[in-house]
Symmetry: C2
Subunit: 461 residues, 2 copies
């Protein structure tokens, strides 16, 4: 009995309708990246494990998909030497039989790319990359083992104009997609500054985690948590004005500037925020942008601006995010390459567009006109017309079999093809092409050379 086919858990097939929607998202994003002069690159699905290991923490190392060495991967291995009290040492054994792994994100391969090709690259280097990544996460709703990332980065300049560009790109992408969003902006240096001014420079993470809970648990609980984490009441008192920040971004910056007076790093962070918000105003960006001190994604990684984008009309978490990093390529031996980037979450954007019913309605059908097959001679008659329409860019099908018309109608219906042409012996004899609008029922005949007339009728719908 033949096997019942299936695909690995956490992976997906994309059929015609899903592809059309996904391509719509990617094409929109890509078109915006292009208007800002970002260049597309692609890196291999497989990287050397030496490139990937240690870059995502212990947890990340476990989630890497490893590729068995080709050839006799297991020959010459002394298994006894891998035996431990709890069984075999899988970690050590897998390093022995696997030299390659699947890309876990686009960031590390990008860093590797820059270092490997640095002599060919013109800096500042503005690149985007849209490729799948793989993670051996436990699959669950909305979390897949294969998914696309969509990253845009500018590396080799410390100017806040790079941050501005990303804000502009985000604004334009979601404007084109028709999703109302809010951009939250923070700065890692400000977080460092807060920890410094309250006298606990090593507690950046604890402080940020506590601030993040403000909405949920309230001011008093946040203060209590900070003290639990070892902050003194005096330190918490120093931070209090920051915990109750409100008003416009300018108001927030003004309060913070007072609090931050004792920290050079913090003041530098505020200068950066000031400059960025200045650029945002001057460029006329319409996207609402809000300073949010609780924003701490990738805290150990980012060194300046931190971004997160939320959909205003659909509950789903962040649909885009990123920030500035000062030493992306240091791990590969190229220090002092500051860059900033954001990543668009294609799967979540897909879910938001679906939830809000914002996908364009005409993505469904790939074909505009189906020529019915009324027999060999009649098909021969319409073939050149079909070719002429295709050369004008129209998507045209000729039904391959002279099946019953009912079946051909059904085909048009299931594929949502809006126009059908039935040309039998009469049309052929008269040199005419008949075309019918399947939704309105309107039908019209054209001399077979009148390709313009047919195109006009098809466009008029």
């Amino acid at each position: 009995m033949p096997q019942k086919p299936s695909i690995p858990k956490g992976t997906r097939d994309f059929g015609q309708a899903e592809m059309a929607r996904r391509n719509y998202i990617f094409d929109t994003i890509r078109s915006v990246f292009r208007t800002y002069g970002y260049a597309q690159i692609e890196t291999p699905a497989m990287e050397n494990l030496s490139t990937l290991l240690g870059k995502y923490g212990d947890e990340g190392d476990k989630l890497l998909f490893r590729i068995l060495n080709s050839g006799d991967a297991f020959s010459g291995i002394d298994y006894d030497s891998f035996r431990t009290e709890e069984g075999y040492n899988s970690k050590a054994l897998s390093l022995k039989v696997c030299e390659k792994g699947l890309r876990y994100d686009l960031t590390v391969p990008f860093a590797r790319f820059i270092v490997q090709h640095q002599s060919e690259i013109s800096f500042p280097f503005k690149r985007f990359q849209i490729q799948p990544v793989w993670r051996a996460d436990r699959p669950q709703k909305g979390r897949y083992r294969e998914f696309y990332q969509c990253d845009v980065d500018a590396i080799g300049s410390k100017s806040q104009l790079c941050e501005l560009e990303l804000v502009q790109i985000v604004a334009r992408v979601f404007e084109l997609l028709g999703i109302r969003v809010l951009m939250k902006i923070n700065n890692r240096k400000v977080l460092t500054g807060l920890a410094e001014i309250c006298g606990f420079p090593d507690k950046v993470v604890d402080i940020t985690v506590a601030i993040d809970k403000l909405d949920k648990i309230g001011l008093d609980a946040v203060k209590a948590e900070m003290m639990e984490k070892g902050l003194t009441p005096e330190a918490v008192a120093v931070l209090e004005p920051v915990l109750t920040l409100s008003g416009s971004n300018e108001d927030k910056l003004a309060v913070m500037r007072k609090v931050m007076a004792g920290s050079d790093t913090g003041l530098k962070g505020l200068d950066e925020l000031d400059e960025l918000f200045g650029f945002i105003r001057e460029a006329g960006v319409k996207l609402p942008c809000e300073i949010d001190l609780s924003l701490a994604r990738g805290l150990n990684y980012y060194t300046g601006a931190i971004f997160e984008v939320k959909a205003l009309d659909w509950e789903i978490g962040s649909i885009c995010g990123g920030g500035r990093y000062d030493n992306l390529t240091g791990i590969f031996g190229l220090p002092d390459m500051s860059g900033v980037g954001v990543s668009f979450g294609a799967d979540r954007i897909y879910d938001v567009l679906t939830g809000l019913d914002k996908f364009p309605s005409d993505l469904g059908s790939t074909t505009t006109l189906l020529f019915a097959n009324m027999g060999a001679e009649e098909v021969a008659y319409v073939l050149p017309v079909a070719s002429a329409l295709r050369e004008r860019g129209l998507a045209v099908e000729v039904y391959p079999d002279a099946s019953k018309l009912k079946k051909q109608f059904d085909y048009a219906d299931r594929k949502a093809i809006p126009f059908l042409s039935i040309c039998g012996g009469d049309e052929k004899a008269a040199g005419l092409i008949q075309v019918k609008n399947l939704s309105s029922g309107e039908q019209k005949s054209f001399p077979k050379d009148n390709v313009d007339g047919i195109l006009e009728f098809l466009a008029g719908n």
Copy 2:
């Protein structure tokens, strides 16, 4: 010391210029597929090994990249039970620790897709798929371990109109790419017929292999080889008229029809060729198509038409090929699904376009206009203009740092940006935007609101 980064052998990074060229090829092919109503699908990079194994022969099984099971892949394995006289049994062990493999081609995943989603698919199902595949082949010039395939198939109809469509698609793709090609066409049933009429129905492969050498070794040597393979002099005499076929496709078909009188299968193959060439004439296909009996690609796989496309002006082997198969999905339990498809060799097409210098010259630059950075205030002045131009679809950059002009010029030069705008204090005071054509030296100033004027100047080049 940090590691020197590299990528696995046989894989490639694609930088900006290569991506632009590759996208040009894929976009061209995709645009043609779309005008024929083919729908794009994507399948996961990883398939279950049970889906892949045994589908590509023993050699293919060896070339599959296998993915180590996540978690403790090696726990609970009794290695001693895999010990053989020559060492450990890698094949059996790898099945134990790997359940998944990387896609080896797009055909088997397509078959799996059809069977798995058959209830959602409208047949005839016309799909295309452009995705990378992975093979653990020994890397060499022009052969990679990761490369894109670009497949188009119509499944669920036996009509020769499906073959015609593929011929038309091939014709249009290479017309748009500017590559002169020849399409060779054969039919598996004709090859079967030849073996039947000479009395050696089990020698199809030997006969075809011998015919294939005609150009190289000449008629007598081919006849000698056939006799070496066990054919009688009488059998060879029956085949001789076919070995010396010449003239037009019609001439060839006429000769073969006489020879083939004793084989129903052979005659059916000739009928199919007749019908296909009739359609090709009626549809006005301009691509030169030639019957070539030595064409035998995928002999065990194809059951009807066989296609191969060669570039006329560049020596490189086949750049596109395919054929009809009658039982693609049988392995997964869905019999009697006849289909026909071709695959475009993107890497070879890339090489032909490079060799013939046929890539459009304007693929190189992604950016049309660079605004030089003359300082914070001057940048603030040009930002809204840059935004307005981008909203009109133009690719515009603003140099992020107020570096020396020389450095900014160099950046424009290396990125092949054709226009530069230098707006300093004077332009700002006068409300003007200055734009310079970097190749002609022509420069002009526009009131900053005159976006149309700037666009016109940029387009005029």
